[in-house]
Amino acid sequence: MANFLAFAESRGGKLRKVAFEAVTAARQAADASGQSEVHALVIGPPGISAQAGALGKHGADVVVAVEHPKLERYNPEVFVATMAERLKGSSYRGGFFAASAQGRDLAPRVAARLGVSLASDVTGFELQGDAAVVRHPAYTGKVNVTLRLAGSPALISLRPGFVTPAEQPRAGRVEMLQPAMDPAAARVTVTELAQRSTTKLDLGEAPVIVSGGRGLRAAENFKLVEDLAAALGNAAVGATRAVTDDGWRPPTDQIGQTGRLVSPDLYIAVGISGAIQHLAGMRTAKTIVAINKDKDAPIFKVADYGIVGDLFEIVPRLTEEIRRIRGSQ
């Protein structure tokens, strides 16, 4: 019975949430196809194999651990070689990655190295005999595409947040593996990893996003947005391209067609007109709130709840009310 391999992404020696998403997806695939095992591949500095317990808890029968002092940071060439060699050598039926920044770098290269296709940024999948049938949002989220991926191993990268990590304890037996190439021989090297903030929620993971547009008029007025996010507690701050272009917010906060694609439970758009390129990044949010002084702004076409008026009056009031609710809970 052919097994499934999940790439367990880590950063700074710690597993990321997407690692559990990949293992959970592999577990689903293995269970659906009978007696297959799930193997999780984790690569990192000495000690990374200690993560095996957590991977086993999420359904990994085997944890393949690759440890090397020079693998503290991502090393694309070593990771690609090691993942590809493992997939080839053990004739896996499928391989799962996260469509995270790292997974999007790694997965296509592993696929090309093995000469198989890749289904990227997948929001749903099903194995059908020799093929895999996957769902993938394309055309800036305006079209949902169903794709058939033929051949083995079926390589799939999963859109972060679409698989809910589930605990299904398995042995998580550790198998140590040597990197498939000497890290010192890699041509491409990650010389620095700068963590922006360890406390702030990432836009991709936050259940609530408060996003600001040019209506805020100046960088310092983003304090209103920050305060609202802080009052909500579980919120991250996003922005439009107009705002990141002007340097009011870092480019990484940009939501939209050429920025991040997000699907939070609640998206609060403050002083944002709702240009189609912005909507492309947030249209799939569960609930959208818009605050804009122009009742004809396109954002109101997608907002479940819109308030027309001056954000400089509305937002502080909203923050105050939320603090009150949060305080009394």
Binding site: R104, S117, T284, I307
Partner: protein, 266 residues
């Protein structure tokens, strides 16, 4: 010149840089799409096409590098039907020296099949850099660039938002979730370009005139085997029409009530 893009001459001598940029022709995303009766393709009536967003950034990076670096050449490639020639002309008008159409009547959804054709065409080009968009705005794979790099055996850095080139080496920054990486690599290399590094210039009238005379070569695309195929396309469910619940700060209590008891997100 965007501050995040810098290059230095390798020495007192001009070092001519040869750069290839891969450009995809994609539908204009501002238009309303409908699905054709085969349920597998977009209804092509009323579609307009343009250069992929990130491919425009990639071309701009290539142009700026050759401008800074002294004599150099940017060659643009697009795989697709004859319609891509219009997109290539636009790239020539922006400043690329010549263009290559890899002719294929249909562009498969399979990134590897495309990468194989591009790799075949680029292999003996002698390029110092091969640039791609971070992803094509239609397929939204983000895989053709790194796949092509792998097929060519070249170093590759994806989704970069900052670049410096000096002495046949490059330093790039790529943004991750909540962090960023600084990456060093030797040339020749493959890079995929993210938002933020350089906004594409508008073609000048002079550029548009000059583009008409620049060489545009047509070659058959040697696509790889296609094993990722479209089974169906659907438009996502429409959002319910928007609703304005009130005006000014007085509407805040009503908003909170709705968020708590109707949407249940607070």
């Amino acid at each position: 010149m965007v501050a995040s893009l810098r290059s230095h001459r390798r020495s007192r001598y001009f070092a001519a840089m040869k750069i290839a940029v891969c450009i995809k022709r994609v539908p204009d995303m501002e238009l309303r799409f409908s699905i054709a009766s085969d349920r597998k393709t977009l209804d092509s009536s009323g579609l307009k096409y343009e250069m992929g967003d990130f491919d425009g950034y990639a071309l701009e990076v290539g142009l700026q590098l050759t401008e800074k670096q002294g004599p150099g050449e940017v060659v643009i490639y697009s795989l697709g039907p004859d319609g891509v020639q219009e997109t290539l002309r636009k790239g020539l008008a922006m400043g690329a020296a010549r263009a290559v159409q890899l002719k294929a009547e249909e562009v498969p959804f399979d990134g590897l099949a495309i990468a194989q054709a591009l790799a075949t065409a680029l292999r003996d080009g002698g390029y110092d850099l091969i640039l791609f968009g971070r992803m094509a705005t239609d397929t939204a794979h983000g895989s053709v660039g790194p796949m092509t790099a792998e097929l060519l055996g070249l170093p590759c850095v994806t989704a970069i938002s900052h670049l410096e080139i000096a002495n046949q080496r490059g330093t790039a920054r790529r943004d991750l979730e909540g962090a960023s990486e600084t990456v060093e690599f030797p040339l020749p290399a493959v890079l995929t370009i993210d938002e933020g590094i350089a906004r594409p210039r508008l073609a000048s009238l002079k550029g548009i005139m000059a583009a008409k005379k620049k060489p545009l070569e047509v070659k058959p695309a040697q696509l790889g085997k296609v094993s990722l195929t479209v089974e169906a396309m659907e438009l996502p469910p429409e959002r319910p029409p928007g609703r304005i619940i009130g005006e000014g700060a007085e509407a805040v209590p009503e908003l909170l009530r709705l968020l708590q008891s109707e949407a249940k997100v607070l």
